[in-house]
Symmetry: C2
Subunit: 515 residues, 2 copies
């Protein structure tokens, strides 16, 4: 037998490969050199290995490769990798300890506590820069693509940014318990590359959730797990392009965030006015757009519920070849009105449904789902595959457990009680501090929209509020068409007492500007 | 004072909003109707509410909205939502229990155990379909965009698919401990929307990891956390397009998976031959491409380490205006050779570095990082923002802890020992069962590439192996240029004994085909 040989056969050979015979020799660990700083003791002078190692470590501290807090490898490990005696490494660490560079911390290992005076050319350790440095300019001019990052990074005492549930209610213990159960029972193969459509367990759980709570009957195979609604919109870009769709009509007022996502994908976003019954279908037809993004259950930001007659009009428009993208972003949170089933349940081949846990648990989880019309499914799976090969598996399985066990429903009931009290506190405070303001959309959701009487631009009011430490979004950010100034005020993430204080500050700001 | 009033001010009013006065009346829970199946007891005949509820639940079981395993809400909760007495709900559940539809399970609640005979129009509960139904055609013709999904879904006894570390070694306890610590210490605001660049804690940890282990000195601000290398490539598409780059040269042989990602983005992928020193820079120049995707530390699939002279040639090419995308996919796993620092450490404004934990911990985590040239950073952050608003936060913080505590380095040392033994087992088995085969790239990584003597197409060999229950990738999948047939054999995820059995089956398959 020829055995396994290593010869040149054109492309594809590897000079570093050895024959099996070489591996059979038991001549110590064959790997040489350490990944740690790419040290190779072959460069050390004989008899001066500890000196050499001290020099290498000092240099790494000086040039920034080792920073304060970095951990040195255990002496045993580094000695083996460098093929030096353990005493050489211990001696080097001892000398660095004596001159104050490192410190031994029993089980914490050996840690860098001070770095050498940097040579002039090296950079000082830079602080992590904020995402955008100038909150002063936040409300000046048209909002740019990083405006929400900049708003989030702006310091404030009180944050009325909409779109977040009560984050202190996140079920940390239940999440951890579910994760322990998942990790205990998980076959190792599920830690490999997975199904780009999402874990079957979660798709099944979402299908049940939608059937019970949103009036949508789907098979698990029709559900695509995505990294939130933001990703769902991005995945739609190539699918819409393939259909020759270059414009998606949007509600006006309507979410700036989702509009930015569509525009980033090169799509036009013609605005369609919203009235008391929902989006105006006559105006939608007039845009000529073949797709529309809607929030039928609780219009963002003004909170209209699309009426029955308007739903029928919309379905007729869709039956003529239109595509409805249904952003069901906070439909689960309702207080004073009956549940509104999703449009997707009525017209499954013309509605692409989007949902997420951002408003049920936490936006930081980045888990959502889409239920597209059948004809778009394969293209969306391909888009998801090439975007990220599918969502991370562990959080999907944890969420599936919370959905199947009833834990997510309990969470929703808990949130509903809290949010309702906070909403009431905000309405009460607005009555006291912004007399004449009109509240919109209070029957459901996580935010209120208020319009107010004085003729003060809402961007100026938002800037003045931020100067007083209160973060709000101006309603005009969410408009393309002219309309009354206003503010979008998230209440769900803020305790009632703080809400009162924040609204008082808004009132002061408005009075000061109107004076 | 006018108080908060609800009037029509053109667009943006909401007929469902009530004045604060209405909320002050304590007239019971104002929400009416239940999200659960959108039930509204207003539709129930007086005196027949239990009958009505039983009918509604039976109908939902018949039409698929309630499937076996679905949980009914607690009687107390459903009664409150429907504004009926708890006895009505209990009576309905009792009758469904008696006729065998549901079952009470103490703490598990009331669960559907059998559904009514479905009416003819309703669909049977469909099984979750495999991602692609026909493994027979897997190795026929050019591999399509879903080929890796299809390969993964194909049943097998032994799986030599490359690219996965030993998944049984995933540090489940350490992960869970770190997650507990993260959840205990986490401020609630970090559960909201986050920095699209990634959590500062992880960017800091990755910067330290790259400085210590890969010879790359970066500030945390230069690190962008992404959902794996697959996403990194997708994020590059708009950035390259903005630079007028419509082709990214690739190694040949070279990863089919990464090539598919580039092609999905509309980029051409001219092949550049690889020889014993790495990619041929003269051939790269000849393509005219202004960008190239490389695996310099351990070329995929043949395992060549780019030589010092070739590195210098590459850097000269890049200095002339070329962009190197450095896919450092498995550089941490090396056995018989010194560490190879990343190219990014040598030329930071022409190299975009990509790394991930897929080969260190698990692909299912979907966490990776990129360190782009400074001029591409803002565009990549925008691309990440609009793709998914940033990676999920909790797993980032858990990983940061594992990196900072030395846990990830310990994991790597553990894996290195195991993988080395598995590699040796595979080489030994190949010597016995595929005499005459040539092994490539064994000094590092998670896979071997073998080329073999008989003139049997490797797709036929892979198909014959799969028929024998052994899953392998044909080398020709990873080629655009003609070359010897071969197989890419992942060993890291398979125990030594199973490796021997799988390689024996490969030998049988090859002998049968060559006969």
């Amino acid at each position: 037998m020829g055995g396994v040989t290593e010869r040149d056969h054109g492309t594809g050979t590897d000079p570093t490969t050895e024959t099996p015979a070489a591996y059979d020799r038991d001549d110590g660990p064959p790997a040489h050199g350490s990944d740690f700083l790419q040290l190779d003791a072959g460069h050390a002078p004989p008899g001066g290995k500890a000196d050499w190692l001290v020099r290498q470590l000092r240099r790494a501290m000086a040039d920034g490769r080792l920073t304060v807090g970095s951990r040195l490898p255990p002496t045993r490990v580094l000695a083996a990798e460098l093929r030096v005696s353990r005493g050489v490494v211990a001696e080097a660490y001892r000398r660095l300890t004596e001159d104050g560079h490192v410190e031994g911390r029993r089980r914490g290992g050996t840690v860098v506590v001070a770095v050498s005076p940097a040579p002039p050319s090296s950079r000082p350790p830079a602080p992590i820069a904020p995402e955008r440095a100038a909150p002063d300019s936040l409300f000046v001019g048209a909002p740019g693509p990083d405006v929400f990052d900049a708003l989030r990074a702006a310091p404030s005492r009180i944050d009325f940014t909409p779109g977040r549930p009560d984050l202190t209610a996140f079920p940390r213990s239940a999440w951890l318990r579910a994760e322990r159960a998942v990790l205990t029972g998980l076959a190792a193969e599920h830690l490999g590359y997975g199904d780009p459509r999402g874990a079957p367990e979660l798709r099944r759980a979402v299908a049940g959730w939608l059937a019970r709570g949103r009036g949508i009957r789907v098979e698990p195979d029709e559900v695509l797990v995505v990294a939130g609604t933001a990703q769902a919109l991005t995945l739609l870009h190539p699918v819409l392009a393939a259909d020759g769709i270059d414009a998606v009509a949007v509600e006006d007022p309507g979410s700036l965030g989702t509009r930015q996502h569509l525009e980033y994908g090169g799509l036009a976003t013609p605005p369609v006015p919203v009235d008391d019954d929902g989006v105006r279908v006559d105006a939608l037809r007039a845009t000529g757009a073949r797709a529309v993004l809607l929030t039928p259950a609780h219009q963002f930001p003004v909170g209209v519920v699309t009426s029955g007659e308007r739903r029928r009009e919309l379905l007729r428009w869709a039956a003529d070849g239109g595509l409805i993208v249904e952003d069901d972003y906070d439909a689960e949170h309702r207080y004073d009105r009956p549940p509104v089933p999703a449009l997707r349940g009525l017209l499954d081949d013309r509605v692409c449904y989007l949902g997420s846990v951002s408003k049920l648990l936490a936006p930081a989880l980045r888990i959502g789902w889409m239920v597209p019309p059948r004809r778009h499914r394969d293209a969306l799976v391909a888009a998801k595959r090439f975007t990220d090969l599918g969502n991370a598996v562990l959080p999907q399985l944890v969420l599936a457990r919370l959905m199947e066990s009833g834990g997510l429903e309990r969470q929703l009931r808990l949130l509903r009680g809290r949010h309702r009290r906070r909403r009431d506190a905000m309405i009460h405070a607005l009555a006291g501090h912004l007399p004449g303001a009109v509240v919109h959309g209070a029957a459901a959701g996580l935010h209120l929209t208020v319009t107010y009487a004085p003729d003060v631009p809402d961007t100026e009011l938002a800037a003045a509020a931020l100067a007083r430490g209160v973060k709000v979004q101006p309603l005009s950010w969410h408009r393309q068409l002219p309309g009354r100034p206003g503010l979008v005020l998230g209440y769900a993430a803020t305790p009632a007492g703080v809400i009162a204080e924040g609204v008082a500050a808004l009132g002061e700001a408005l009075r000061a500007l109107a004076a």
